[in-house]
């Protein structure tokens, strides 16, 4: 280790200015993240000209702080209002919002915060210790291997489908169709656009997530509000209690009890973060799905802190690793990493493998900021969560239309495209219908995310192997291993389903019949 460079990095980071920009970054990030439609990359793009005026550590503090804060911030509104601030937090809605409705919103937000910070910090340490090694491992994942990783993710659908596999599969089919709308990934020719030019870019994830999760819930609650049922009043009262003195917090024992789920999130998030093109949303759903599959007794997806722990540790664990390809090869693996790379370039530092030799103090400073950012995220996240969740104290008559307006703004803000608002509204009615017939949303979102990636990688693999299917599918030991794992997962899921049904039937037969 270059100790001179480390000392220089420490003296650069521990200055009033750098810490101030880091604090501003985290605060801005949590605030922006909590607003639907404004994601980490939008926030970073907006402050990029400002970062140009700062010195290198101030700039990195602002951008990395904003990134970390925004990934956590999305969970606050996901839990409080079922409106994920960014798609990264969509998987948190399942357990988080249910807990809010049960009056345990405070516990849910604290679990999200602690698991986010834990996942983020642990993955940062992994990055610092073994960045070049894991980057080399990631290089082994070409189109064939990524293809099987996607199949593995889809095999988890069984776990996300709830009790009715058929409804889960139908939801997945809708997601699959929606995911194919837009330009063909290989030839760029528009497909399934019904002749509508505005569909050429496909359906954007932000309006989809806001429509299916937030707006559809608000339609449902709005209708109930019109009927003035007691249920809504109770739910609103519970939202209002979010940070009241009598609400249940999170004990240290409860936090520790989620170590397995956080471990899954850290492992999945770290690896997914390193692979280019996947991102925090995929990591969150994968971690959530694996945890649900592995621990069926914890009732993940039904209002459990363990689902929140897996999803939030999963999405935040991608933050540090996203920077690995940038630091190891100079190649940004995500839009946010590209923006951080751009900020480095604006400071005259071209991200490349030579960075470690040429600017060791900048690399160390970046590592210190990555770690330090977690502490500020914890402190500011707590304050912000408290402040933001107070909005929940508004009565339902104000809350429901407010979230509806937020949803419209959020759908528009992501790309400034008015068609996204129309799409969000259409998807909201679809989500409302799905909820009415008991169809789960998760398979829709996950196939929407995964299917296009699967298709791209399959078609690339076929192009590379000149149409040889066997080589395209089983061209490496890693691919064969992943294919085996996917097959095993499917068998286990099916056996568990059959076993579960048999035991339910058995229980029904054992129960004494009345009369």
């Amino acid at each position: 280790m270059n100790t001179d460079a480390l000392y220089e990095a420490l003296s650069l980071v521990f200055t009033f200015k750098t810490i101030m920009w880091l604090v501003i970054g985290v605060a801005l990030g949590v605030g922006l993240g909590a607003i639907p439609g404004l994601t980490a990359s939008t926030g970073i793009a907006l402050v990029l000209p400002l970062s140009f005026m700062l010195d290198i550590t101030g700039s990195l503090g602002l951008l990395i702080g904003l990134y970390k804060g925004a990934v956590f911030g999305g969970s606050i509104s996901a839990i409080s209002f079922a409106t994920p601030g960014s798609p990264d937090s969509a998987a948190t809605v399942f357990d988080g919002y249910r807990m809010t409705k049960e009056g345990k919103g405070r516990k849910a937000i604290l679990m999200a915060l602690y698991s986010s910070v834990t996942g983020d910090a642990a993955s940062d340490i992994v990055v610092i210790l073994v960045a070049p090694t894991i980057a080399l491992l990631a290089l082994q994942f070409g189109p064939t291997e990524r293809l099987w990783l996607m199949v593995l993710a889809i095999a988890l659908l069984g776990a996300l489908s709830g009790r009715h596999l058929a409804k889960g599969l139908f939801s997945a089919a809708i997601g699959l169709f929606l995911g194919t709308i837009g330009a063909d990934p290989v030839s760029s020719v528009a497909r399934n656009t019904f002749g509508q030019d505005w569909l050429r870019d496909g359906i954007h994830l932000v309006p989809l997530v806001i429509g299916v999760f937030a707006m559809s819930q608000m339609l449902e609650q709005g209708l109930e509000l019109l009927r003035r049922t007691r249920a809504v009043r109770e739910a609103t009262m519970k939202l209002g209690d979010l940070f009241g003195r009598n609400t249940e917090g999170l004990t240290f024992r409860e936090y520790l009890s989620a170590w397995r789920e956080m471990g899954i999130g850290i492992g999945v998030g770290t690896f997914v973060g390193i692979l280019p093109g996947l991102g925090a949303t995929v990591a969150a759903f994968l971690s959530f799905g694996i945890a649900k599959q592995l621990f069926p007794k914890k009732r993940i997806g039904e209002g459990s802190i363990y689902g929140i722990a897996a999803a939030e540790a999963g999405n935040n664990a991608t933050v540090g690793p996203t920077l690995v390809p940038l630091l190891a090869f100079g190649i940004p693996g995500s839009a946010t990493a590209a923006l951080i790379g751009a900020a480095l370039m604006l400071q005259g530092i071209t991200p490349s493998p030579r960075m470690f030799q040429m600017y060791p103090e900048v690399i160390y400073a970046l590592f210190i900021i990555l770690i330090l950012g977690n502490f500020f995220n914890l402190a500011i996240g707590r304050m912000f969560a408290f402040f933001y969740a107070r909005l929940g104290q508004l009565p339902g008559e104000i809350l429901v239309p407010t979230i509806m307006v937020m949803s419209v703004i959020g759908a528009y803000a992501a790309r400034s495209d008015p068609y996204d608002v129309l799409m969000m509204l259409g998807l909201a009615f679809m989500g409302f219908g799905m909820r009415k017939v008991g169809m789960p949303e998760a398979p829709l979102i996950i196939t929407f995310l995964i299917a296009p990636l699967l298709e791209q990688n399959l078609r690339r693999a076929l192009l590379i192997t000149r149409g040889e299917w066997s080589d395209a599918l089983f061209g490496s030991p890693v691919a064969i291993g992943l294919a085996g794992a996917a097959a095993l997962l499917l068998v286990v899921t099916m056996r568990a389903n059959i076993g579960g049904r048999l035991s339910r039937v058995g229980r029904q037969q054992d129960e004494p019949t009345g009369g």
Binding site: I44, L139, P276, A342, I464
Partner: protein, 317 residues
């Protein structure tokens, strides 16, 4: 007859007055805030550069210049938005080749790529073909290898278009593997999953020399000296090989019906912004040095560019 003459003179005077008035108004351009439209979401390459540019443009325009993102439809939504605005020069369109690629890929495009008046190019990038030093020490060895086996070339749509245009003229057959992001393509190249990768200059300097060399620059435009030096010098380009290459401009245009005087004034101001030392420095440090091309030259190049892209798209599909 006399009455007619008087009427004609009156009409002519009125018309002259109107034109003169319009000219006086036009030369006063701009008199209100200017909107700088980007057809992509916040955070992309064009958006980053536009924000750096807008930070200095207020001073030069003497009016506020605001960046607006109008994303969607492969960059065409922003273009259509510009065409829906008044043709008064207060809505300026700044794009990369992406919307042109979208339009030339469509059978029935909603607008034509020529539905714009080009006022200048801010910078241009080239598609460079990068491969292993040992496998492809030069262009000739690459051509030979492509005759012996199918060589894979990964890249995004625009960089692959540049390479496809060159390969077509050189009569070399390769397998194009399209990627949605440069990051994915380069990772697959570094992992050995594809033989070569097509990238822009700014990405190439992060790969060369540790992980490969530039086999060919598919554009006819020589690289900027400092970039060529970083890439090991003596980079062969399409012109050296006797071909007509494509380089991809970050172009600026206005509504085609904008009055000539306003177009000229917009071009003049955009040129001033592009030549401004602060903007030049910001673009250079962002990895996309200003390589300004004035209105006439840019407009002439643009016509040829659209045609070359149209035929290259056919090669990729």
């Amino acid at each position: 007859m006399k009455t007619m003459t008087i009427k004609a003179v009156t009409a002519a005077t009125a018309l002259f007055g109107a034109v003169a008035g319009a000219q006086a108004q036009d030369t006063n351009y701009p008199q209100q805030p200017v909107t700088w439209v980007i057809p992509f979401g916040a955070g992309g390459g064009t958006d980053q550069l536009a924000r750096l540019l807008a930070a200095e443009a207020d001073r030069i325009f003497g009016e506020r210049v605001t960046v607006e993102n109008h994303a969607g439809a492969g960059g065409v939504a922003g273009w259509e938005y510009v065409l829906d605005q008044p043709a008064d020069g207060y809505t300026i369109f700044n794009a990369s080749p992406t919307p042109i690629i979208t339009l030339v890929s469509e059978e029935n495009p909603p607008i034509e790529p020529t539905d714009i008046s080009i006022v200048g190019y801010l910078s241009s990038y080239s598609a460079l073909l990068i491969g292993g030093e040992e496998a492809f020490p030069d262009w000739e060895s690459f051509k030979q290898a492509a005759e012996d086996r199918a060589i894979t070339v990964g890249g995004t749509n625009s960089t692959l278009l540049g390479i496809a245009n060159l390969m077509d003229q050189a009569g070399v057959e390769v397998v194009f593997v399209p990627y949605t992001s440069t990051g994915e393509a380069v990772t697959d190249y570094l992992g050995g999953h594809i033989d070569t990768v097509a990238t822009t200059e700014s990405t190439a300097v992060t790969i060369v020399p540790e992980n490969g060399r530039v086999i060919v620059n598919s554009s006819s435009r020589p690289l900027l000296p400092e970039i060529e030096e970083q890439l090991g010098g003596d980079v062969v380009d399409a012109k050296d090989l006797g071909f007509d290459g494509i380089s991809f401009p970050r172009w600026v245009g206005v509504h085609p019906d904008t009055p000539e005087e306003v177009k000229a004034r917009v071009a003049e101001l955009v040129g001033e912004v592009a030549q401004d030392p602060a903007v030049k420095e910001a673009f250079a440090t962002a990895g996309s040095p200003i390589d300004y091309v004035g209105r006439e030259e840019a407009a002439q190049d643009y016509e040829g560019l659209v045609e070359r892209m149209r035929s290259a798209v056919g090669l990729l599909q």
